[in-house]
């Protein structure tokens, strides 16, 4: 049986762990509040860009722009958005798993945003073309633009034939879901969830020209989607960390209760034993 001193030490160490998890929970929830406002601020931009692109893609069915045409797939690029840090439940692992399953039968190269995704894929000996750290928690549009441009360049130069993006969708504060979307090439059927105007769009004028407009807008679209996904993932990371730390704190107090019970039992046992010894000793003297 563990000695009293050992148990006392355990209680203390679990207690200090609990303090840490509690603090992390509080930090995560205050950061989450901020991340959620950011998320709701970027949402309109995200939504309207998607809608505009949907209309353009549907309206210009005749365009033979390289961004709109599928080609033979030899290599695929999968971008993964994870956090830089752990202790956030299954958040990082879930999105990494989704990324691995994005294109199981083809040659894949990964672009990771967030240290955890890089570690995960490197551990499994995957090909990583680029990895970024230190931007997951506070994404800004410029980072998204730089990454978007790099990835699109890979596509332009024929290094990869398709681009996927794996990120985490924010369902609510207590639930989120990993999601994989196809970024390139663009297909009209990617946008079936977007409502477009019924009016005949073939009459749309493109200024200066259809080709130029697509050249300009599609890279922009990629950046926007990437930025939106980064902001959304950041909110997810914080919400999963908050939930994970909340249950850790709860588990710690349960553990402390159990240990306290054990401690008292052991202490009682020791006292009983001492009394028995004293009684036994005095009996022997008298006898």
């Amino acid at each position: 049986m563990a000695s009293m001193r050992d148990i006392k030490r355990r209680i203390k160490s679990v207690g200090s762990t609990q303090q840490i998890t509690k603090a992390m929970n509080l930090v995560a929830s205050s950061k989450l509040a901020r991340a959620k406002t950011r998320f709701s601020e970027t949402k309109p931009f995200f939504r309207y860009t998607r809608r505009a692109i949907a209309q353009i893609v549907n309206g210009s069915s005749g365009a033979s722009h390289p961004y709109l045409q599928s080609r033979e797939v030899k290599k695929v690029c999968v971008m993964v958005i994870t956090g830089d840090r752990g202790l956030c439940g299954g958040y990082n692992t879930n999105v990494c798993k989704a990324a691995l399953n994005a294109a199981p039968d083809t040659d894949v190269t990964f672009v990771t945003i967030g240290g955890k995704g890089r570690d995960y894929l490197r551990h499994r000996n995957k090909d990583i073309a680029k990895s970024y750290r230190g931007i997951s928690e506070k994404p800004n549009y410029d980072d998204a633009r730089l990454i978007g441009e790099k990835v699109l360049k890979m596509y332009d130069e024929g290094e990869v034939d398709e681009i996927y993006l794996a990120y985490t969708e924010f369902v609510s504060t207590i639930s989120n879901e990993p999601k994989v979307i196809k970024l390139m090439p663009l297909n009209a059927d990617e946008f079936t969830d977007v409502k477009t105007e019924d009016k005949d769009l073939t009459l749309t004028i493109y200024e200066p020209g259809e080709e130029e407009v697509l050249d300009y807008i599609i890279p922009k679209y990629v950046n926007t989607i990437l930025y939106g996904a980064m902001v959304e993932s950041a909110a997810c990371e914080l919400s999963s960390r908050m939930t994970a730390m909340d249950s850790a704190t709860e588990n710690a107090s349960e553990m402390i209760d159990d240990l306290n019970l054990l401690y008292n039992r052991v202490r009682q046992g020791a006292i009983t034993q001492e009394i028995t010894e004293i009684v036994g000793g005095s009996n022997a003297l008298q006898g």
């Binding site: 601020e41 009459l203 749309t204 493109y206 200024e207 130029e212 300009y216 926007t224």
Partner: protein, 134 residues
């Protein structure tokens, strides 16, 4: 008589900057200024760095600096999607002047082709801001 106004939304990654109606909206596209009225044909156009002007009769024009992006004109009016946009009263003139000086210096040196493009863009941005202020 039906209201002859066009709906306009201006959206940047960080905020929904404007949502309302206007008699006419003037945008700086890559092929020049265009004024858009109610009932315009569907159009998608790429925007240049420049001033956007929102006109309403009986009101003072609202002006904003818009840096790139694109505008989509459809049944629901105009949607301007841009990376950066600032209202005239949000612009800090002295900062813009400084930025202009910095960019001009950098361009005049032309030492090792360090981001000539970036300096040019910075200069363009500064000039738009200053132009709007004056």
């Amino acid at each position: 008589m039906a209201e002859n106004k066009i709906a306009l939304k201006v959206i940047t990654p960080n905020r929904e900057m404007f949502s309302g109606k206007a008699d006419m909206v003037i945008l700086r596209t890559t092929s020049g200024d265009v004024g858009i009225l109610h009932g315009h044909q569907p159009m998608v156009t790429v925007l240049d760095y420049g001033v956007m002007r929102i006109q309403n009769e009986g009101e003072e024009d609202k002006t904003a600096a818009v840096f790139g992006g694109f505008a989509q004109i459809g049944e629901n009016g105009i949607i301007v999607l841009t990376d950066i946009a600032e209202w005239a009263d949000e612009i800090d003139l002295s900062r813009a002047e400084e930025a202009r000086k910095r960019a001009e210096e950098r361009l005049s040196k032309k030492s090792a082709d360090i981001d000539v493009l970036r300096a040019e863009l910075a200069l363009k941005r500064a000039l738009v801001r200053i132009g709007l202020k004056e």
